[in-house]
């Protein structure tokens, strides 16, 4: 009886020491989960989730304050990946999923007010006061933040269609189906 208790106690001490050592030795710096969540988010910084940027949203997800289905640019795939990462249920996106688009400024209408330049979170609009503005398409994330500030409504979102640069080979669909 005593031997058994002693052995169990010894085991507890040894294992406890090992765990304690491991927690010090392999201590994880910072909060890597936020980084991982942020890596999945599309970095459009659009604020459509209700948070001022992707990082705040990632932090909110991490704290459990925000749901994982609030990011429309990430789409259903983004929700899926977040669910996989966090072990949560996959939920339908809390918004309409739109095809990827980039902003386009109608240069004829633009009055050069710089409001859209200030709104753009990624500095993808060039121009100066009273000068025509234009969007650098490679940098535009399609966040739509420049659309509402424009006083003359000269900014539109142009969907990016399939072209030779973004064309992808399709998944082979030669599934066997019951003939009868």
């Amino acid at each position: 009886m005593i031997t058994a208790i002693a052995i169990m106690a010894l085991g507890a001490v040894v294992l406890g020491a090992a765990l304690g050592y491991a927690s010090i030795k392999f201590k994880v710096e910072g909060d890597p989960l936020v980084e991982k969540i942020e890596a999945i988010l599309p970095q459009t910084q659009c604020g459509q989730c209700g948070y001022p940027g992707c990082r705040p949203y990632a932090e909110a997800i991490n704290k459990g304050e925000a749901d994982i289905n609030l990011c429309p640019p990430g789409g259903a795939e983004g929700v899926q990946r977040l669910a996989d990462l966090l072990g949560r249920e996959v939920k339908p996106l809390d918004a309409e999923e739109k095809p990827k688009a980039i902003a386009f400024i109608d240069e004829q209408t633009c009055i050069g007010c710089t409001l859209c330049i200030q709104a753009c979170p990624v500095d993808a609009i060039v121009g100066a006061a009273k000068q025509m503005h234009t969007i650098v398409p490679e940098l535009c994330t399609g966040c739509e933040l420049c659309v509402p500030p424009c006083p003359v409504e000269c900014i539109s979102m142009e969907p990016i269609g399939e072209n030779l640069d973004n064309w992808k080979w399709k998944y082979p669909v030669i599934e066997l189906k019951k003939v009868a």
């Binding site: 942020e38 988010l41 599309p42 970095q43 459009t44 910084q45 940027g53 992707c54 710089t114 330049i117 979170p121 990624v122 500095d123 993808a124 060039v126 121009g127 100066a128 650098v136 490679e138 940098l139 994330t141 399939e162 072209n163 030779l164 973004n166 064309w167 992808k168 080979w169 399709k170 998944y171 082979p172 030669i174 599934e175 066997l176």
Partner: protein, 577 residues
């Protein structure tokens, strides 16, 4: 006798080459319209240099190379530009690409051609000439040739391999070119040799083309070149660049390295031919030899103008009534042309008319039984069935672990698969998904960096503005205080002692209201400075910046200081990408 090496795997499909070698290369008649795509090579898309309505001469530049890795595009014949517009591309997707539509005038009038003496010119000049002439790899990869003509700085160039293997079934364009224009090929190889200075030049040709081997040997002997013309065993894909390098030199070029890092470089025979035409005759690449074979009455090789629409080209061969499509390239790696309007391009080595008898419909896909046949024939010694499981499950990380990017899509695995699984299709799917994701990830990273940049800049501007305001306020206050102090001192004692006292105990003994205010302002300014300093030391939202980004910020600051700008409302540097 040269020692040959073996590459693992490979298959031996029916070669079907004899049909199209019966007749010499024919010159295809001028088509009624030409659609010349501007993007015909790897690298930058050439800029259009002509507009609708303009008259062009044969060989006139119509698309200027954009960036170093890019090749120029020329008018294939003289005529009138009808449009510079989107036209269906010679691509499996059937999507369009910017193309120049030319209506030939029938005169086929050359622009002035200036041959160069490549031996007398600096190597850079020769490479530039090739770039301007639009010389690209004609084996199918269409990589700009001038980009491959620089030896590695650290590894001495040992072998120059010239690829005349032509391993794909049906295709005979290189075979005929070697038979008929061997001398110009050898001269072209000489140009490459002079630029790369290799120790040996090896020309590899599959041993089912003895005429080509003999022709090249005779040409090399006649020109006094000591090129080794080697017959290599016929086995698909012996004509893959890496496979031919392996067979001739024993070197294996991994996907992570360039062949020049191993002291080898490889060119196609047709590329050597066009290079010679460009150098010695000043002729840019405006046509190429195309094999027209398969389900046609008269299979033959044609020298066809680039941009010839498929419909007009195949009419030369007389397609049989049961023809149900056209393949561009060989049956192993080629693809079905999307429409009859799609043009011939620099990559078009062969057009095969297909029929149900020639390429019967595939049996339904069965489950993989892991028999390992695919692994046995894979020339890159991959495990295609493992890749297949992962690609099918869209587990792309795993596909990369199993080296999916070493796959050259030669099709050997699909060729032997007893379950008739379209393995190559799965691999292409996985590769393009991975590329797309990589692109997305890079875009996201860039967006994130730019967002953080902008936030940091706004923070700093705010701090700088506040500091400037505080400074101005303090200066104002100090000025007032000084005035007040001076006034007080003048009132009390104009003696030097009194002035001394005033400087020793400034404004303390005579505390007027203004001095008090100045002190407060000074404190406020100091506080503000300290805050700004703190902000500068620990700026919010920029603590995760990479050293490179921090360097950028520092540089911008330095530039600002030089320009004497304190705090511009918007920094001009940032609007430049």
């Amino acid at each position: 006798m040269l020692q040959l090496f073996k590459f693992k795997g490979g298959v031996k499909p029916q070669t079907n080459k004899t049909q199209s070698v019966g007749e010499p290369i024919g010159v295809a008649p001028l088509p009624s319209r030409l659609f010349v795509p501007l993007h015909q090579s790897i690298g930058g898309t050439p800029r259009p240099l002509v507009a609708a309505g303009e008259r062009v001469l044969k060989g006139q530049l119509i698309g200027g190379a954009d960036g170093w890795i890019s090749a120029a595009v020329h008018a294939p014949t003289s005529g009138t530009v009808r449009a510079v517009a989107e036209h269906v591309a010679a691509h499996p997707s059937g999507l369009t690409t910017l193309s120049v539509e030319i209506e030939p005038d029938g005169r086929d009038e050359w622009i002035e051609r200036t041959p160069i003496d490549h031996g007398a010119l600096a190597p850079e000049r020769v490479r530039e000439r090739l770039r301007e002439a639009g010389v690209v790899g004609l084996g199918g990869a269409v990589f700009p040739t001038h980009g491959k003509l620089t030896a590695s700085k650290t590894v001495p160039m040992e072998e120059l391999v010239i690829n005349g293997a032509e391993c794909e079934p049906y295709i005979t364009c290189d075979d005929l070119l070697m038979r008929e224009r061997a001398e110009e090929i050898v001269r072209g190889v000489g140009v490459f040799r002079d630029l790369l200075q290799p120790k040996r030049v090896l020309i590899g040709i599959e041993d089912n083309k003895p005429e080509a081997v003999a022709a090249l040997q005779a040409a090399a002997a006649k020109l006094g070149e000591n090129f080794a013309v080697v017959a290599v065993p016929t086995r698909y894909p012996a004509g893959g660049a890496k496979q031919l390098i392996r067979v001739l030199t024993g070197k294996e070029v991994p996907s992570t390295k360039r062949s020049t890092d191993l002291g080898v470089q490889c060119f196609n025979v047709a590329t050597a031919y066009t290079a010679w035409r460009a150098v010695a005759h000043g002729e840019p690449v405006v046509s190429r030899i195309v094999t027209l074979t398969g389900n046609v009455e008269r299979p033959r090789n044609w020298e066809a103008l680039l941009g010839t629409p498929l419909a007009e080209f195949v009419a030369l061969g007389g397609p049989k009534p049961d023809t149900d499509g056209y393949l561009m390239g060989g049956p192993m790696m080629g693809f079905a042309m999307p429409t009859m309007d799609a043009p011939l391009v620099k990559a078009t080595n062969c057009i095969i008319a297909s029929s149900p008898a020639l390429f019967p419909p595939k049996a339904p896909e069965m489950p993989c039984i892991r028999c390992g046949e695919c692994a046995k024939v894979c020339p890159h010694e991959l495990q295609p069935f493992e890749l297949y499981w992962f690609a099918r499950a869209k587990n792309f990380g795993k596909t990369q672990e199993y080296h999916i990017f070493d796959c050259i899509e030669c099709g050997c695995c699909s060729f032997v698969c007893p379950s008739r699984i379209p393995l190559v299709q799965y691999f292409r799917f996985a590769k393009s998904e991975i590329w797309a994701r990589e692109k997305e990830k890079n875009a996201a990273d860039q967006a994130k960096a730019r967002f953080e940049w902008k936030t940091a800049r706004e923070e700093r501007e705010k701090a700088e503005k506040a500091e400037k305001l505080a400074k101005a306020a303090a200066a104002q206050a100090a000025k007032k205080a000084a005035e007040a102090a001076a006034a007080a001192a003048g009132e009390a004692a104009p003696a030097p002692a009194a002035a001394e006292a005033a400087t020793n105990v400034p404004a303390a003994t005579n505390p007027p209201l203004d001095a008090e205010a100045a002190k407060k302002a000074a404190i406020a300014a100091a506080l503000e400075r300290a805050r700004a300093q703190r902000a500068a030391v620990e700026p919010k939202n920029v603590d995760r910046l990479t050293p490179a980004q921090q360097k950028d910020i520092a540089e911008v600051d330095a530039r600002r200081q030089q320009a004497g700008i304190e705090a511009p409302p918007t920094a001009p540097e940032e609007s430049q990408p």
